[in-house]
Structures are given as structure tokens and as C-alpha cells.
Amino acid sequence: MSAKTLYDKLWDEHVVRENDDGTVLLYIDRQLVHEVTSPQAFEGLRLAGRAPWRSNANLAVADHNVPTTDRQQGIEDPVSALQVSTLADNTRQYGITSFGMTDARQGIVHVIGPEQGATQPGMTVVCGDSHTSTQGALGCLAFGIGTSEVEHVLATQTLIQAKAKSLLISVDNQLPPGVTAKDIILHIIATIGTAGGTGYAIEYGGEAIHALSMEGRMTICNMSIEAGARCGMVAVDDTTVEYMRDRPYSPKGEYWDQAVEYWRTLVSDDDAEFDRVVALDARNIEPQVSWGTSPEMVVPVSDQVPDPADETDPVRRDGMERALAYMDLQPGTRMRDIRPDKVFIGSCTNARIEDLREAARIVDGQRVADGIKLAMIVPGSGLVKRQAEREGLDQIFKNAGFEWREAGCSMCLAMNSDRLEPGERCASTSNRNFEGRQGQGGRTHLVSPAMAAAAAVAGHFVDVRELGHAAA
């Protein structure tokens, strides 16, 4: 038998049938459902008189529209409220488990899937959300789909798919102190571009990746889609297995042992060949900050805003000029001279417990700078929030002047009332710096939790490694 990549193994395992045109019918083990991309799928199901193929393969949660302030008040915006209640109605009608807004397990769909053990190594996992790639960190095939495909999975437990090409991104050697998973993935996107992974399934490997916690790996896989790839994944190792232990939906008893035995096979064979390999040296990665309106428009914090005049490709130069105008930045401005108005620590990229610990280390004993209008922490789930509170992180943040909120997507995409006003600049741990993403006219700078926390304290971007207490 020829050597296989991890992607080959996951793919082959789920092929129900191969079609003559080169596509396959792929079995889907788990679907996660949220309120924004599911109503039309349930409606389609109902209009066609169909029922879900396997209701208990699905897990639902409302995350995009939910307020991050007092939940007892309900949702003020009637349009948002209707979307959230529609999810509740649909999941009740079809017998799908759903975590309601006041359930402690509620949170961002890509945080709660792994946290609950609902997402497991070896599974195919889909969700009507492009950041489903996050969950590939567990050694599963996880990818975002559109609403038509959500309906297809509900009705058939399968998808018609064409296999992608394989891309290995190997991050070799050890990461310098103070540099984090977020800096790795921003550096990767700056290197290969936002379309660099289009048509590929990415496997992240190398010493620096396997040294990361599961939380860090999820941050990396999360932004695969910002590199153009529908899915990213990391091979199973001890860190993966330990993460899965004793999660609510993890396999129990003898199933646990069987599962672990299988999970251990979920690695690329030594002599497996990838369609493309990109090798990066972790020792060369610095803390990163984005300056533009595309996630590839990123430079190290020690650098400056680039000059479009230096770009030879006319389409790229045009994009850079538009971005600088939108961001109100001049070429040559030092990144450390840029002053955010708001700081957002949250999102499916960076709202897990480790992210909050990383930010708290910087903030501990400090104060949010005077120029910062709002600094907020939005935990990825109710359980992350509780854990942080047990560790006293909430007090550290509150003492420093941060707002401590309830779990949800919040200002990553500003579907609820958390948003930037026109012209406001934000240091954000989220994943997209598109025009208007965090609120119409808002200007986003993507950074790690440590860098966001440092910017909040300093009032401008700063190399987190220069803060003595930070480089943990």
C-alpha cells in the first residue's frame, strides 16, 4: 500500500461511493449548526418534506447574534432575536441538541465543538461557517460549507466533494519567547498569500506546531481559510489524546481505548508525498500586526507600513493603495506608532482559556491606557469564562479597566451590538481585517492576544517582548 498523508487517510475513511466524474460521496460524522447559516437549510428540508438523516449527529448553538452583556435581558434587536428563536424552534422540531443562550456550555461554535468532545480526531466535521477549519487541530477533516450543503448534510449525512490537493506547511525549530500561534499563522498568510492555499487541504507540521497546545493549534487551523484553504489539520500526538480525555462527549470506557488506538494512526506516513511543501523557520517569526484590509497585509511589529510604490504587480499595488486609504495610514509609518481606539480580545481564533491567560499575563497589575475608549474580553464559551474566573483572570482584566463579557462571536463580525464606529481603529485578536468587518468604516489590526493586551496597556502597538513580565 502506498504511503498516505493524514488528509488521504481521513478522506479515504469517509468515501461512501466514488462517482464517475471524479467526485465522491463523503460521509459526514458531525455537523455543528449556528443561527445565521441554518434557517434556510431547515426551511428547505421542511418544504421538501424531508427529515434529518441522523439528528444526533448535529449539535447547535447560537453565537453570532447573541449579546455579550446581561443575558437575562434577552436580545434587543428583533431581527436578531427572530434568528435565534428560529434556531431554537428548528432544533426542537427535529430533535437536535442545542445549547441555549443562558446555558453555561453556550459559546462560539468552533470553541464548543472541541471543548465538549463533540469534535473528535478522525471525524469529518462540517458547519455552515468558514472557520470550521479550526477543529482540524484535532486531527479531523473539518471544513466550512454553504447553507445548501448544510441542508444536504441534514438530509443525507453526506456531501458530494472533490478531493483537494495537499499542502504541508512545516514550521521548523522552536518559536522564540513571546511569539505565539497567532504570529505563526499571520506570518504564514503573509508568506503564501490569501489565495496561497486555494484548492489545498493544509497539514501543519514541524517542531514549532507540535510544541503548541491544542488551543494554539486551533488558532493556526482557524485561519487556514484566510490563506484560502477550506481545511487545515494537525496530526494526532500525545497533546491531542490528552486534550480529548474526559470531555463530555469523548468516547468512554472500552470505546476510549479503541478510539485512542485508531487516533494514533492519524498521522501522515513518513514517506507520504504532498502536492506542495512550504517550510518556514520558527526562529525568524516575530510578533505580527496587520496594517491593511486583507489578512496577508501583515508585517512584524518592528517594521513599518509598506509603500505601494515598491509593489510591481499593478493589481496588488491598487489593493495596497485602497487599503492604506481605508485604514488612513501613510507608507513608512512605524507599526508601533499606530494607536488603536478599541481593543477586542475574543473570537474563534483567540478566545480559549490559554488566550485569556496569555493576555492576563501582560495586563496583570497594569492599566488600560487613557487613549483607549474600550477594551473588552469576550470568552469563547461560558465554560472558558468560568474557568478564567476560577483562575482569577477576570479580576486581573477588570482591575486593569477591561470589560469582562459573556461568550459569543461579538466584535469579530459585529452582528450583535458590539462594533466599531466609523473611523475607529481596533487591535483585534480576530481573523479578518476586511473593510467594515468590525463595523462600517471600522479599521482592524489583527494581532495575538498578548499583542492586543500590550497595545491596550501602552496605548499603541508595542513589541510584547520588550515588556519584561510578558515573555512567558
Binding site: 473528535q120 454553504g146 445548501s148 452582528m415
Partner: protein
């Protein structure tokens, strides 16, 4: 799904790279629980001078005269000409729904984001990938000739220019077939229900923990 075989359509140029789905349909309109009605909010932040909300009457809103699709010569366009990596970002199917609702049936670009490309083909929109220099030529001709039209033939996989030049494009067989016929994919898949059940039975035997209920 509306079948798509031949389109002879007016071309509108959107001359910027990396147009993301947040730009195609901003987040506040994703709160709808319907599939239709997104057309007036297509490219909302570029199209209007004020901030749009789902309950606003769009006919009363001030149009941005600088936005290319607001020019009278492009009204009624069904072919959108775009630059590389069109449709990047979120998986929202509201993006093709908005394009379709505004009358677009064909999008021509040097490259598309994967999920967006896929979502188009599920909704009767044909994404056509052409070489960068071909797209550049189409931009030049669209700007130079008011009322510029292209003929797209999906069975033949061709785009024909007014001067008779033919540009060929690739599309995989399944998507082509589904678009031409306007197929209900779920219905087709359910014809293979026995195979799905047989696979599921094997998997349940082999890896029973996968089937533990989430409840």
C-alpha cells in the same frame, strides 16, 4: 435551482482584487431567515452613502455615484467581471443569493475562493475562471464599449466576445451537469440512500463511538 445553459448578458466591471463576502453582503443582512430579497443590499457599503440596515427602505437611500455598478450603463447587467480571489472570506451563501437577486448569473474572474465558487454553483450562478490576461482584456473592452455584452455557453464551456473571439473555460462535469439541469442535489443523493446506510452500518461496527449521540 434555476437552470443555466446560455447567457447573453450585459457586462459590469468590478475592478478590485480580493473582494470578500463581507463586502458582497454585509453582516447585518445575514440576520434574515429567508433566501431572497438580498439584491438591493448587494455591495451595500460601496453602493450607498449611508449605513444600511435590514429594515431600511433601500429606494430612499442615497446612492454612491462613484461606485461603478451604480452607473446607468451597467444597469441590467447579468455578467460580473471581477479580479483575482473573488468571494474570499466567510462561507455565507447570502453572497451568491444577493448576486442572483440582483440579476447576476455569470461571474468572470482569474480565480475564486473555494467555498464561494461552490456556493455559486448550488444557486444557478456560473463562476468562470479565465487567465489573468484574458480578464484584463475583457476589462479594457468593457470600459471602451458602452453596452458591452458577452455570450456564455455552458455546455460548450465558452465565452464569446462581440468580435467573435472565443475563450474556453474549465468546470467539473458534475457541477456543469447540475447547473445545466438545475438539479436538486439532495434528491439525487437520496437515490443512493442504500449505499449510505451500508457505509454507516460498517462504520458503526468498526468505530462505534462515532455514533454516540450528542444529547
Amino acid at each position: 435551482m434555476q437552470p443555466l445553459e446560455h447567457i447573453d448578458g450585459l457586462v459590469a466591471p468590478l475592478d478590485r482584487a480580493n473582494v470578500d463576502t463581507d463586502a458582497i453582503i454585509p453582516k447585518q443582512f445575514l440576520k434574515s431567515i429567508k433566501r431572497t430579497g438580498f439584491g438591493p443590499n448587494l455591495f451595500d457599503e460601496w453602493r450607498y452613502l449611508d449605513h444600511g440596515e435590514p429594515d431600511k427602505d433601500n429606494s430612499e437611500r442615497p446612492l454612491n455615484p462613484d461606485f461603478v455598478l451604480n452607473q446607468s450603463r451597467y444597469q441590467g447587467a447579468s455578467v460580473l467581471l471581477a479580479r483575482r480571489n473573488f468571494g474570499c472570506g466567510s462561507s455565507r451563501e447570502h453572497a451568491p443569493w444577493a448576486l442572483l437577486d440582483d440579476g447576476f448569473r455569470v461571474i468572470i474572474a482569474p480565480s475564486f475562493a473555494d467555498i464561494f465558487y461552490n456556493n455559486c454553483t448550488k444557486n444557478g450562478i456560473l463562476p468562470v475562471e479565465l487567465a489573468e490576461e484574458q480578464v484584463e482584456r475583457l476589462f479594457q473592452q468593457t470600459y471602451a464599449n458602452e453596452g458591452y455584452r458577452l455570450t456564455v455557453d455552458l455546455p460548450e464551456q465558452t465565452v464569446t466576445l462581440p468580435d467573435g473571439e472565443v475563450m474556453r473555460f474549465d468546470i467539473d462535469e458534475f457541477r456543469k451537469y447540475a447547473l445545466i439541469r438545475g438539479l436538486d442535489e439532495i434528491g439525487l443523493t437520496l437515490e443512493q440512500a442504500d449505499e449510505i446506510r451500508a457505509y454507516e452500518a460498517r462504520r458503526r461496527q468498526d468505530k462505534p463511538w462515532i455514533f454516540d449521540a450528542v444529547d
